[in-house]
């Protein structure tokens, strides 16, 4: 087992090297590395070889992994207080459970659904999975030659409570020794490396102080386990395509004290920084930009998802950057791709284009005949016109007036509901996870992204862009109660349908017989001549 633990301090000004220490073991005892009351985000990465899995009680039979060529699980909670983490943990997926995978060519008809059910111990009806063959959706191929993505994509709404009670949630809690709700969890497996890599990120520490006080023992001398602990802070650097971290690295058992370190790397996922001019002497300031997602009420059968961003902070970090939203929609909702062709319609919604859509796109089918879990869509969004932003920065007077008029930039994404099964209530609730929002910008050094020790892939959207792309992530608003919208879908209420069948059939039969009488019966007390001739 290899462990890599990284703390990224959130308040570098109050960090003191005294908060970390190495205590040498005496009398053959192991060395201990300690952090004390460290205010930081934390990543815990655990790498397990296939042969180590059962020893560490992973909550599934290791044999099931052989069905997959690649398997990438991404989970993100619906609570905004946990989900927003600093660099280098800024990339996001929509709340819920995402699985990106490629079946092995050596196994016939491999199925994911049963494993997912047993690992996540969920029998809730909204857990839509019949067989992965028909439930998973194909990832759009940007290019056959350069494909970096998996073949298939699966998603199910699985939020905080269900995660905690799931086998996977349990196991992660045990192995990391942390009860703090994570900001996200990644589990990666591929047949090449024959290893499972679990990455758990927390946006902050335990308790009221939101700080970490942890101890790590050096591994036993004869084991092949390793532990590496970094305590880093995000630093300013001169290259806008890079980020830089400085701090201390420690390998307990090898190092007598934390070793200073500093590294700079091009990165695929970049935090969105303040638009203030670059200053190499101060720590990078994060942009205050946040987005809200809402559903227009009443939703009817055609809900509109609205993204709201404050106009003043919505400034492209670079001229090559384009604002995007990536939606993960359960099958009860669908997008009509043909709506997004008309420039006037797009402009009225502050959309530029629907760049990609995959999955359940049938425009007519009710939910119960859709085998797929849903669909995934990438929209390019219109940013506020540059004239208004330049006007607002030209003088404080115009800034005031422009904020008064265009305080918020709204983007509307029209969706449609499928009919849901009749039920013993008037409405059936569905959960729509907030989309992820980011600027996609050109990155000349895209080829080096994979060398970044914090690189993160298989998020659904990054494979829809070329390799020379970096993502500047916009974070969701902490003011929201949940990063999930609930829609009450009107359904046929089975408590009231008693008369429907008999009533309909009765009326039709009566109408039919009545018409027969009008057709062939007597008129004014006599049969019409024509009738006699016939029979």
């Amino acid at each position: 087992m290899k462990q890599r633990i990284t703390y990224v301090v959130t308040e570098p000004e109050i960090f003191s090297p005294d908060q970390i220490s190495v205590e040498k073991g005496k009398n053959g005892e192991r060395d201990i590395f300690q952090v004390k009351r460290l205010e930081a985000a934390k990543e815990h990465r655990i790498t397990l070889g296939l042969d180590e899995l059962s020893k560490h009680k992973i909550p599934f039979d290791p044999e099931v992994l052989k069905k997959w060529h690649e398997l990438h699980i991404r989970w993100s909670p619906d609570n905004p207080n946990f989900t927003i983490a600093p660099a280098p943990f800024t990339s996001r997926v929509s709340p819920g459970l995402h699985i990106f995978f490629t079946p092995s060519t050596e196994v016939e008809d491999p199925d994911l659904c049963q494993d997912v059910r047993s690992v996540f111990r969920n029998h809730h009806p909204q857990f839509k999975c019949t067989t992965s063959n028909e439930t998973a959706i194909k990832m759009p191929m940007l290019s056959e030659r350069f494909t970096m993505s998996t073949a298939l994509q699966y998603y199910t709404p699985l939020f905080e409570k269900d995660w905690k009670s799931s086998g996977m949630g349990d196991w992660i809690g045990d192995i990391t020794g942390s009860t703090q709700p994570p900001s996200y969890v990644d589990v990666d497996y591929d047949a090449m490396s024959q290893a499972v890599v679990c990455t758990i990120v927390w946006s902050n520490g335990h308790g009221l102080e939101k700080s970490w006080t942890d101890q790590y023992f050096a591994p036993e001398e004869d084991s092949d386990s390793t532990v590496e602990i970094g305590v880093l802070s995000h630093e300013a650097n001169t290259d806008p395509e890079d980020y830089q971290f400085g701090g201390f690295l420690t390998v307990p058992g090898r190092d007598d004290k934390p070793k200073p370190t500093r590294f700079q790397t091009p990165t695929r996922h970049y935090p969105l920084l303040d638009s203030a001019p670059f200053n190499p002497n101060t720590a990078p300031q994060l942009s205050p930009l946040r987005y809200m997602t809402s559903v227009n009420r009443p939703t009817g059968l055609h809900p509109t998802l609205t993204l709201t961003l404050p106009t003043n902070d919505l400034i492209a970090p670079d001229p090559t950057c384009k604002l995007h939203a990536y939606l993960t929609l359960p099958s009860a909702l669908f997008i009509d791709k043909y709506q997004f062709k008309d420039p006037l319609f797009l402009a009225s919604k502050n959309l530029v284009a629907l760049r990609s859509i995959s999955g359940a796109t049938d425009l007519e089918a009710p939910d119960w005949v859709i085998p797929q879990w849903g669909s995934a869509a990438l929209f390019e969004l219109a940013a506020p016109s540059s004239s208004s932003s330049s006007a607002s920065s030209s003088s404080s007077d115009t800034e005031k007036s422009s904020t008064a008029v265009h305080a918020d930039h709204n983007i509307s994404i029209p969706l449609h509901l499928r009919y849901l099964p009749a039920s013993s209530s008037t409405h059936t609730p569905i959960s729509v996870p907030w989309p992820v929002v980011f600027w996609a910008c050109r990155a000349d050094e895209g080829a080096k992204h994979a060398q970044n020790p914090f690189d993160r892939r298989h998020l659904g959207y990054e494979a829809l862009f070329g390799p020379k792309t970096r993502f500047m992530h916009v974070q969701p608003s902490e003011d929201a109660a949940r990063l999930v919208e609930r829609i009450e879908v009107p359904v046929l209420d089975t408590r009231k349908v008693g008369m429907v069948e008999a009533g309909t059939m009765g009326i039709v039969v009566v109408a039919f017989l009545g018409l027969c009488w009008v057709l062939f019966g007597k008129i004014n007390g006599r049969k019409v001549d024509g009738e006699k001739k016939k029979q």
């Binding site: 009443p298 939703t299 009817g300 059968l301 055609h302 043909y338 062709k341 008309d342 006037l344 319609f345 402009a347 009225s348 919604k349 796109t361 049938d362 425009l363 007519e364 009710p366 119960w368 005949v369 009919y419 099964p421 009749a422 039920s423 008037t426 409405h427 009450e488 879908v489 009107p490 359904v491 046929l492 209420d493 089975t494 009231k496 349908v497 429907v500 069948e501 009533g503 309909t504 059939m505 009326i507 039709v508 039969v509 109408a511 039919f512 009545g514 018409l515 027969c516 009008v518 057709l519 062939f520 008129i523 019409v528 001549d529 024509g530 009738e531 001739k533 016939k534």
Partner: protein, 425 residues
């Protein structure tokens, strides 16, 4: 005065009908260019997308929800040429089709209802100057085109052009399936008395003699021509586009669930029966729904009425087909609207204002009640499936059946009149 002068001039009426459509077309262009809400019907985008696929050498069925014959996409081939004019040329085609259908209606009224010019123009204007008809075709819905084919079919029968009749029938069925119901009325109407005057005595013969009498040359010609046309068209198109053609143009209509709310009385029941957790026990009921619909529209109405008055029979058939259909949307109303000019002139609906206005008011109120419930569901998200939508669709159905009863009764009575027309002039 001015109005009667207007209806005395054929060029004036047809120019007005054409100008009406031109005005609607131009307005549509303006609205499409200036508003995110489009005048153009969503179906028109489906047709033109399919035409574009054809132009690229692909199948029109590459476009989702294209459920029509590829001939439609071929007809709209010019819409793939660049420029706004060509893109909208399909609407022009539909509008021209509308006016041509109107002209044929006028000729039928003149020749076979023996109407004077002014009266014929007045009644043809139910179609020609109807804003609903003009809107539907200029928005780019293909239902207008169907008006030409079906009216041409009627005209060909009345003109006794049997090969042409058969070909049009075969083509219309290929185009939209439902015109097959007209086969029965046309065939029944075409007994020997319609063509020769020597057949009076034969009806007294044996069953075999009657059968021989039934299989007359006209009927055989029409049957052969329609079947050959229908089969040739389908074989040719199947060879070009294969299984998706059959699947989308024909089988889809047999297997569709029709769960989304629409005017049909069966709608709520179909939603209930197709939904998991609904009542599956009587699943076959919805298949039985074809029974009253087809018995009435394809068999009983033709048998009872066709020999008395063919156009009115076709109206009653279409009315029954639409009222008893498993799915019904407002474009289906156009299907029977094209027969109103032949039936209404001597109908009790026009002769008795009480019956006429009651029928119209009941129809409008039934529509409005349903639309109100539909709006509450579609835009406000209220669960109005039961009782609201169900009851209003049942009430609308009862109204339709009532009107159909009046049409049938009226047509039967009219058959008794020796001189059916010219009374009022």
């Amino acid at each position: 005065m001015a109005l009667s002068g207007f209806f005395r001039s054929t060029p004036l009426v047809f120019t007005t009908a054409s100008l009406l459509r031109v005005a609607f077309l131009l307005y549509g262009l303006w609205q499409d260019a200036n508003s995110p809400m489009k005048y153009t019907d969503i179906d028109y985008f489906v047709f033109t997308d399919a035409a574009r696929f054809i132009a690229q050498g692909q199948s029109p069925y590459a476009r989702d929800t294209y459920r029509y014959t590829p001939l439609l996409a071929w007809m709209l081939y010019p819409t793939t040429w660049s420029g706004t004019f060509w893109f909208n040329s399909g609407k022009l085609l539909f509008a021209v089709g509308d006016v041509v259908a109107g002209w044929m209606m006028y000729r039928i009224l003149r020749e076979y209802r023996e109407m004077g010019k002014e009266r014929a123009l007045r009644y043809a204007s139910i179609w020609l100057l109807n804003p609903m008809v003009a809107t539907i075709s200029t928005r780019g819905s293909s239902e207008g085109l169907l008006g030409v084919f079906v009216t041409a079919l009627l005209w060909a029968v009345l003109k006794r052009k049997y090969v042409l009749t058969g070909m049009l029938l075969g083509f219309a069925v290929h185009f939209k399936i439902y015109p097959f119901i007209y086969a029965a009325s046309i065939v029944w109407w075409l007994d020997s008395t319609k063509t020769e005057h020597d057949a009076k005595g034969r009806t007294q013969g044996s069953v075999f003699d009657q059968l021989i009498a039934f299989i007359n040359p006209q009927r055989v010609t029409i049957a052969a021509a329609s079947i050959i046309t229908f089969v040739l068209l389908n074989v040719a198109i199947y060879n070009m586009y294969g299984w998706p053609f059959l699947e989308h143009s024909y089988f889809y209509h047999l297997t569709r669930i029709d769960h989304r709310h629409n005017f049909s009385p069966y709608n709520t029941l179909l939603y209930l029966n197709s939904s998991p957790g609904g009542t599956q026990s009587t699943f076959e009921l919805e298949r039985l729904a074809f029974l009253p619909q087809l018995l009435l529209s394809a068999l009983m109405i033709p048998l009872a009425l066709a020999k008395k008055d063919l156009p009115s029979t076709m109206l009653a058939q279409t009315f029954a087909f639409v009222a008893f259909n498993k799915v019904c949307t407002s474009q289906y109303f156009l299907w029977y609207m094209m027969f109103l000019p032949y039936y209404l002139p001597d109908s009790v609906l026009f002769q008795s204002p009480t019956i006429g206005f009651t029928a119209l008011a009941a129809w409008v109120v039934g529509q409005a009640a349903w639309l109100q419930q539909g709006f509450q569901l579609e835009f406000n998200g209220y669960s109005t499936f039961v009782p609201g939508l169900w009851l209003s669709s049942i009430v609308f159905f009862i109204v339709n059946v009532g009107i159909l009863g009046v049409i049938i009764y009226d047509t039967r009575m009219r058959g008794d009149r020796t001189v059916p027309v010219k009374k009022q002039q």
